[in-house]
């Protein structure tokens, strides 16, 4: 193969790996709020992503509310998807998840994981198929003029051109902003500390006067919202159906596990890594196998190194 083309492809894969990776990082961060803080296994995480995508779709395409914002519309819509799904997450926890997690199940043999798995599987099924009923099975996309525009950077030996899809790049930047905002929330605010304390030691947190149940609810709603924003961003460059969640569930869990359970930043790096893996696998593998590659990577991680690469302290595997 022509060395120059090979180099160009690799460089582009790197760049797009970075860009996509940031978005994956965002969704992994959302999951880590739930999986990492609450230690709740949420099967429906991918479907929350899907809801975010459809929320953005409705805001931009169906209701046309974002047209006043021009090309920035879809990205603002993605951000708005956050609060919408926040409310749903809040309700989900209040009525369903709180019964199978938190202090109620803290002492039991498997910490309530079986119940969480089953209940969230039910939620996933309902969201996916409910989505099918409400939204139909036609693949949708939230396209903007930016989706097909790209910055071309000429650089390097020969005529190496790096393609930077504009929409993806902006989505990546938005993702980064949200991650930073979330990090600030968790590390610098009283609420964030309370969430982390409740995750670290629910009993001691109760002694401090923290309502652990409410802390978990906030964490869950926040995690849902963040994942939904990621979904809205994904919508700007990928076409999607109500069943998109399944593909992304494994990506998210792979990223969170790779990055180490308790760490928000670790989850981000994990997601970034998975993004890289995916874009690089596109160089060597046909499209159908790219997702399979991610699943295989996930299996390898879970079997070989369940504590991840960036775990903050001795976390259970």
């Amino acid at each position: 193969m022509d060395a120059q083309i090979f180099f160009e492809n690799t460089l582009n894969a790197c760049v797009s790996g970075l860009v996509i990776g940031c978005i994956y990082g965002l969704m992994c961060v959302g999951l880590s709020l739930i999986f990492g803080i609450m230690r709740v296994v949420n099967f429906a995480q991918g479907d929350l992503l899907m809801l975010g995508a459809y929320a953005a779709f409705y805001l931009v395409v169906v209701w046309g509310t974002m047209s006043v914002l021009g090309p920035a519309g879809p990205f603002v819509a993605a951000l708005l998807a956050g609060p919408m799904v926040f409310c749903l997450g809040w309700l989900l926890h209040r009525f369903l998840l709180s019964r199978v997690s938190g202090l109620r199940t803290a002492g039991s043999l498997d910490e309530g994981h079986f119940g969480q798995l089953i209940v969230t599987l039910g939620v996933a099924l309902i969201l996916q198929n409910g989505g099918l009923i409400l939204f139909g099975s036609t693949p949708r996309a939230v396209s903007t003029p930016l989706s097909s525009a790209a910055w071309l950077i000429e650089t390097g030996p020969g005529d190496t051109t790096i393609f930077l899809n504009k929409a993806r790049l902006i989505a990546c930047l938005v993702a980064l902003v949200v991650v930073v905002a979330l990090w600030l929330l968790l590390e610098r605010t009283r609420l964030g500390r309370a969430l982390r304390a409740a995750a670290d030691n629910p009993t001691a947190a109760t002694y401090m006067g923290i309502d652990v149940d409410r802390a978990h609810r906030i964490a869950f709603a926040l995690g849902s919202a963040v994942t939904a924003i990621a979904g809205g961003l994904v919508a700007t460059y990928l076409s999607f159906t109500p069943f998109m969640g399944i593909d992304f569930v494994v990506i998210m869990y792979a990223g969170v596990v790779l990055g180490g359970m308790g760490s928000l930043l670790g989850a981000f790096w994990g997601g970034l890594t998975i993004g890289f893996v995916q874009q690089f696998s596109a160089l060597a593998l046909p499209p159908q196998l790219q997702n399979a590659a991610i699943f295989v990577v996930f299996l390898l991680i879970v079997v070989l190194r369940p504590q991840g690469l960036f775990g903050r302290s001795a976390d259970r595997a």
């Binding site: 309902i126 409910g130 099918l132 009923i133 494994v250 879970v302």
Partner: protein, 588 residues
């Protein structure tokens, strides 16, 4: 076979036969082709449910990926029929083998994983295969239609033929599940589910048992998949490897009842017609109604009746427990101890130690236990006593030192091997299998030690008699009092015919009289030749029971000797009450 199994087996088989006959009649009567298809699908999903139950229900590891076996079975049939002209009558058994092999390959890496990681990993397998098969170009594999002698190719002009074959498969799967449920193997699986550690301490090799269960489960699921392919005549990756397939297997079993043969039958009989009917009636207007139904079903089940319909109904309508019969005055049966006729101490420990991170939990402890002795291990809270037991028993590996049982080294050997060498252990937190009878609970101990059949039953009955629980043998363990539970733990350890018992806080939480009852059991066991090492906090009981005491403080051996002496020992008093106490009381 477990004791009492045959009458249960006969009853269950009879009920099943009757239901089967009714079903055959029903399928003869129904003429609408859609409903006929539904009648065929119900047994197939019942088989899937039974297969899921065999593994996840009995063992307790939730599998979200049983579709992997289903799909492999389906594709084996479809591909062999196309490529080699192989009739599905052979193709399905071949698929079964493929499923079994897949189970081994899947089980090997994933059994090490805990609960939710296992579930996630199992989820990934069918999804990987889904993509791979799509890539390989098998998006849609049709089974060629055979015009001549279609029955030789498992194709029937009359759809009722499929129903009969499906019922045949169901009968086989039911039979296997019934056999497992009533066998030693099944009891072993249930023990693993309830408390893998205690099961291992009772001598069970958990990995092998889990693997056997998964292989059986995978094989049955693959058979179901193969038959499914024959009925639908076309196989697509989504249909057989998709998440809905795994979810259906799980839902059907969970809804109907986990851990019982009847559960998947009930679940399939209720959910499949429901979902299929809704799909038929509303499928055009509301596509995906099936998924929503299943989703709702499992959420409701999980919140309202987490063990499934079968158990909830049974609890509601169960007869009250039979009152315990007052047996004849207990003449204690002889206790068989598989003890080697050796001289010297039963247990010798030298310089054993263990660190956790920077903390030295057990530090250079050495002592010996004479044959037929009752040794008490005492010490302040957090001193390392349970850790010491865990080192002796094989639960944890030691960093330093050695322990000998009858002169043979036991440090470094796995838990179940040490049990089979003759060491019984009870744990601080008693975990019983609440829905099994007391006898079954105790049988685990006998099976774990390698006993089988009648010998196992006898050992269990002897153990129950010695602990005074013989009259309660048929009661469900969930109904026992605290004292009875502790005695049951003891009986389970004794049923393995050990000659050394390690008891961890057997008397915790018992009142005066209850304590006395347990103490007398222990004394009688010793009189029969048992050697006992017991950790306790209830000091007054130890003074009455133990021949010798060993005091552990902060991981080190502080004192040993006759109880009265140890209690007067200054260092011991200081460890319990503090240095200043010694100073004060000595100066008065």
């Amino acid at each position: 076979m477990r004791p009492g199994a045959f009458p249960r087996l006969r009853r269950d088989a009879l009920i099943f036969a009757v239901l089967l006959a009714c079903y055959v009649v029903l399928s003869g009567v129904v003429t609408n082709s859609y409903y006929q298809l539904m009648l065929t699908l119900v047994p197939i999903w019942a088989v899937m449910g039974l297969s899921w139950n065999l593994f996840s229900g009995y063992v307790g590891l939730t599998s979200f990926g049983h579709a992997v076996f289903f799909g492999l079975g389906a594709y084996t049939v479809a591909l062999t029929m196309n490529a080699w002209n192989l009739t599905p009558w052979f193709g399905i058994p071949l698929g079964t083998v493929v499923g079994a092999v897949a189970a081994v390959l899947i089980g090997l890496p994933t059994f090490r994983l805990r609960g939710h990681y296992f579930a996630l990993a199992m989820l990934a397998f069918p999804l990987v295969l889904l993509y791979v098969f799509q890539y390989l170009g098998y998006q849609e594999v049709s089974l060629p239609m055979k015009r001549e002698q279609p029955w030789a190719w498992l194709q029937f002009t009359d759809p009722r033929g499929f129903t009969l074959v499906a019922l045949g498969l169901l009968a086989m799967a039911f039979g296997i599940s019934l056999a497992v449920e009533n066998s030693r193997f099944g009891l072993t699986l249930m023990a693993i589910r309830q408390n893998e550690l205690a099961a291992a301490a009772a001598g069970i090799d958990a990995r092998r048992a889990k693997m056997a269960a998964l292989v059986l489960s995978g094989a049955i699921a693959a058979a179901a998949g193969g038959l499914y392919a024959c009925i639908l005549l076309v196989v697509t990756p989504d249909a057989v490897f998709g998440m809905l397939t795994s979810a259906q297997a799980l839902t059907v079993a969970m809804f109907g009842g986990v851990g019982t043969v009847w559960g998947p039958l009930i679940g399939a009989a209720v959910l499949i017609p429901l979902a299929e009917t809704l799909h038929a009636e509303l499928g055009n207007i509301i596509p995906g109604i099936q998924g929503v139904v299943y989703g709702l079903a499992i959420i409701l089940v999980m919140l309202l009746a987490p063990e499934g319909l079968f158990w909830t109904l049974r609890d509601r309508f169960a007869r009250t427990a039979l009152p315990p019969e007052l047996g004849p005055a207990p003449v204690l049966p002889t206790l068989t101890l598989r003890a080697p006729a050796a001289a010297g101490p039963v247990l010798r420990v030298e310089n054993i130690g263990k660190s956790f991170g920077g903390l030295r939990a057990v530090d250079g402890v050495s002592f010996a236990v004479a044959r037929g002795e009752i040794l008490g291990i005492i010490g302040p809270n957090g001193a390392g006593k349970t850790t010491l037991f865990n080192l002796l028993n094989g639960v944890l590996p030691s960093d330093t030192g050695t322990a000998w049982l009858d002169g043979e080294v036991i440090t470094g050997r796995p838990l179940h091997a040490i049990c089979r060498a003759g060491v019984g252990r009870t744990f601080q937190v008693v975990r019983s299998f609440p829905r099994l009878s007391l006898l079954d609970n105790v049988l685990i101990g006998a099976y774990g030690a390698g006993l089988t059949g009648a010998a196992a039953t006898t050992a269990a009955e002897v153990a129950l008699a010695r602990t005074g629980l013989a009259a309660q043998a048929q009661r469900e363990a969930g109904a026992l009092t605290n004292k009875e539970l502790r005695l049951m733990e003891l009986a389970r350890a004794v049923a393995g015919q050990p000659h050394l018992l390690l008891l961890d806080e057997t008397l915790a939480g018992l009142g005066r009289e209850e304590c006395e009852a347990v103490l007398s059991v222990l004394r009688e066991l010793r009189a029969a030749g048992m050697t006992i090492v017991i950790i306790e906090h209830t000091m007054h009981a130890m003074l009455k029971l133990a021949d010798r005491l060993v005091v552990i403080d902060r991981g080190r051996l502080l004192a040993e000797g006759a109880p009265r002496d140890v209690v007067e020992n200054r260092a011991v008093i200081e460890a319990y009450l503090g240095r200043k106490w010694m100073a004060k009381t000595c100066s008065t």
